[in-house]
Amino acid sequence: VSLALEILVLPVLACLVLAGIHAYLGLHVLARGVIFVDLAFAQVAALGMAAALLAGHALGSDAAYSHALVFTAAGAALFATVRTNATHHAEGGGGADSIPQEAIIGIVYAVAAALTVMILDRLPQGGDQIKQLLVGDVLAVTGTEVARTAAVYAGIGLVHWLVRRPLLALSFGGEVSARRAWDFLFYFTFGVVVTSSVRIAGVLLVFAYLIVPAVAGALVSATVRGRLLVGWTVGFAVSVLGLTASYRWDLPPGAAVVSTFGAVLACIAGAHGIVVLARRARREGLRALSGIAAVVAGLVAIAGAFLAAVPGADHPWLNAAETVAPIVLTTFLTEGERRTFAESHAAIARGAAELDRLRALAVDVQWGTRELDPERRERLRQFLASRGEIVAGDRLVLATLRRHARHRQRFVVGLPLAMIGATAAFGLARHARAKRRSRPVAGDVQIRQR
């Protein structure tokens, strides 16, 4: 446990720092509808670094950093100008208002990436280091990095707090004078944050920290303050959960945190949906659920029909049911097949346990914590390889038995499911439509407004 703490403490701190500023900036990004602007900035900063390398500066030198900063500022100026122009045209009724900001962001990203590739091709050394600026590995952060990043973000956070009125008005709608200047300030500080975050955590993780807390906040709350609180809660919780999961189940840390973000957002959205549904059910009775029930019944019908039509394909729902209750599978096997099934299961359990034991032995030998003479080492290697094949073979036997069962389940399970599901879906859908027609139109509007 102490080792886990030692390994995880800095990454968790780094993630908390990221969550703090990105949950806030994400609100702006979401409100402005510039979802992928962080990717564009990360790429522009990488281009700046590549240009610094081309000019003969060492990576990590002050000169290289100022290159990245200047490029980021140029990107910020471009985004600020384009946005102002677009609004201007919209007011004047010009043609450019049909170009969304996302298009400009995408173009900047693509062109910056292409220019980086071309520069890296010309470089005397070190293309990989630039690439690593975009990948980042949160496990590798150092204490000074975390402290420096926290200080920079605290400063930027303070600036944003001091001028919160014009910045919030710009993003969430409102009257502001000197739009261009405020827009530039927003994009420039945003660019600085994203660039240093990406170096620590990589584009994938930074994107998740930026967007997911903001979306979770928007789902739950309508005020900026409420969204920020929800966003911070989600960001902090996911940081700890995701990194712990990475340790517990041996997963790549960045990917684990991003996936946890996805899972948590799905849970929040699911809970949100259930709350909305429950409210409607209280108002209209169980009939409110007929729409969703129709969808579920439709899915059952499709799953059954698919099993009947293509029994050889993957049917994960049936696999899951068979794992929970093996009888779903064994009823469809002959007496002999059932014996083979049990034997293969036992053989896999035995073989896997033995493989685990021998693999641990092989690792010990590799590290020198256990001695083994060369001949026995070679025998261990060969035994591991061949035993691995045998276990894989047993798994193949199980897969074959399952395929046999599928062909028998085809008509006994698949067809009835398809028919029952289709009938239920049809009935429920008619029920839902009848209900909608009978509902007064005025009431519908009233509900929406509420």
């Binding site: 080792l3 886990a4 030692e6 390994i7 995880l8 990454p11 890296l120 091709d121 470089l123 005397p124 050394q125 070190g126 293309g127 990989d128 280091q129 690439k131 690593q132 990948v135 590995d137 496990l139 590798a140 952060v141 150092t142 990194l243 990475s246 340790y247 517990r248 189940w249 041996d250 997963l251 790549p252 840390p253 960045g254 684990a256 690792v363 590799q366 590290w367 020198g368 914590t369 290697r381 060969q382 591991l384 390889a385 691995g388 094949e389 276990v391 894989a392 073979g393 798994r395 193949l396």
Partner: protein
């Protein structure tokens, strides 16, 4: 009028890596013009062929490649050619390591190189069979020059032998030493010089290791007193440094290919550089 004739008289060869290019040049001398299609400073798996290299490939009468799954881009590059050059898959010339991938893939353990580890040029002893195969191919294209090729190869082998005894002598004091590598690049090199690769930091290049894996690695390194982590230019430097800091080990960056480091200018200096750096790092 004479110049184009002279140029035409050389055999145009395309090698996929700088290491193979050097071996071809060592045998072919001034009778061949050989160029590497890839730049060792870039990731060989994510390589994109440029128009000039495509022209090179089109003109080549012999293609020398690492083989196995080292050049996933090559199939597409060659696909557009109407006449194919002679093809030398160098992996057929050497004994491969790391071939025991299960045919039935049921295990979840990662294996980057499904057909065997591709870094076989990092055993200098392998240059012997490799140059022999190159000699055969070149002689088939220019039978009249066979004697020249044989003389060139003999000269190269003499220098290689001198190098081998020099390198083996430098690393002999550290025989049996355990090292941790960034990627699974060094099994051939380690076997030749009696080192033991205890583990790799990134089992799959580009996929960062899990926190638990790093923790186990650190624990093992501390327990067994591993003192050297072998990095390479494409390795995640920050992660290696952090692991080294926690274990008191030292990161030594080796050059996996000719030209991936400014000091490693040809096939023999590649080993001079790597052996010298490794011996310095392993010295107590």
């Amino acid at each position: 009028v004479v110049l184009p004739l002279l140029v035409a008289a050389t055999i145009s060869v395309a090698a996929t890596t700088t290491d193979l290019r050097d071996l071809v040049a060592a045998v072919g001398g001034d009778r061949v013009s050989v160029e590497s299609l890839t730049d060792p400073r870039h990731d060989p798996h994510a390589f994109e062929i440029s128009p000039r290299q495509l022209v090179r490939l089109r003109e080549a009468r012999l293609l020398v490649r690492i083989g196995l799954d080292h050049e996933p881009w090559l199939r597409r590059a060659v696909g557009g050619l109407t006449t194919l050059p002679r093809d030398l898959d160098a992996s057929r010339a050497v004994m491969l390591l790391g071939t025991e991938t299960p045919r039935l893939r049921a295990e979840r353990s990662a294996h980057v190189h499904a057909f065997g580890n591709t870094h076989y040029w990092l055993d200098p002893e392998n240059a012997r069979p490799l140059t022999l195969r190159i000699l055969e191919e070149l002689s088939a294209l220019a039978p009249a020059d066979r004697a020249v090729f044989e003389a060139n190869r003999a000269r190269f082998i003499a220098r290689l032998d001198a190098g081998l005894s020099r390198w083996e002598q430098m690393l002999r004091p550290f025989a049996g030493a355990r090292v941790v590598t960034a990627h699974d690049t060094w099994p051939y090199f380690a076997r030749r010089f009696g080192l033991v690769v205890a583990a790799s930091v990134e089992e799959r290049p580009g996929v960062p290791p899990s926190a638990a894996y790093v923790a186990r690695l650190v624990e093992r390194m501390r327990a067994t007193g591993v003192r050297v982590v072998i990095g390479e230019p494409a390795a995640p430097a920050a992660l290696l440094r952090r692991i080294a800091d926690r274990t008191g080990a030292q990161v030594v960056t080796l050059a996996p290919s000719v030209g991936s480091d400014s000091e490693a200018v040809d096939y023999l200096t590649l080993f001079d550089v790597n052996v010298r750096r490794l011996a310095t790092a392993l010295a107590p």
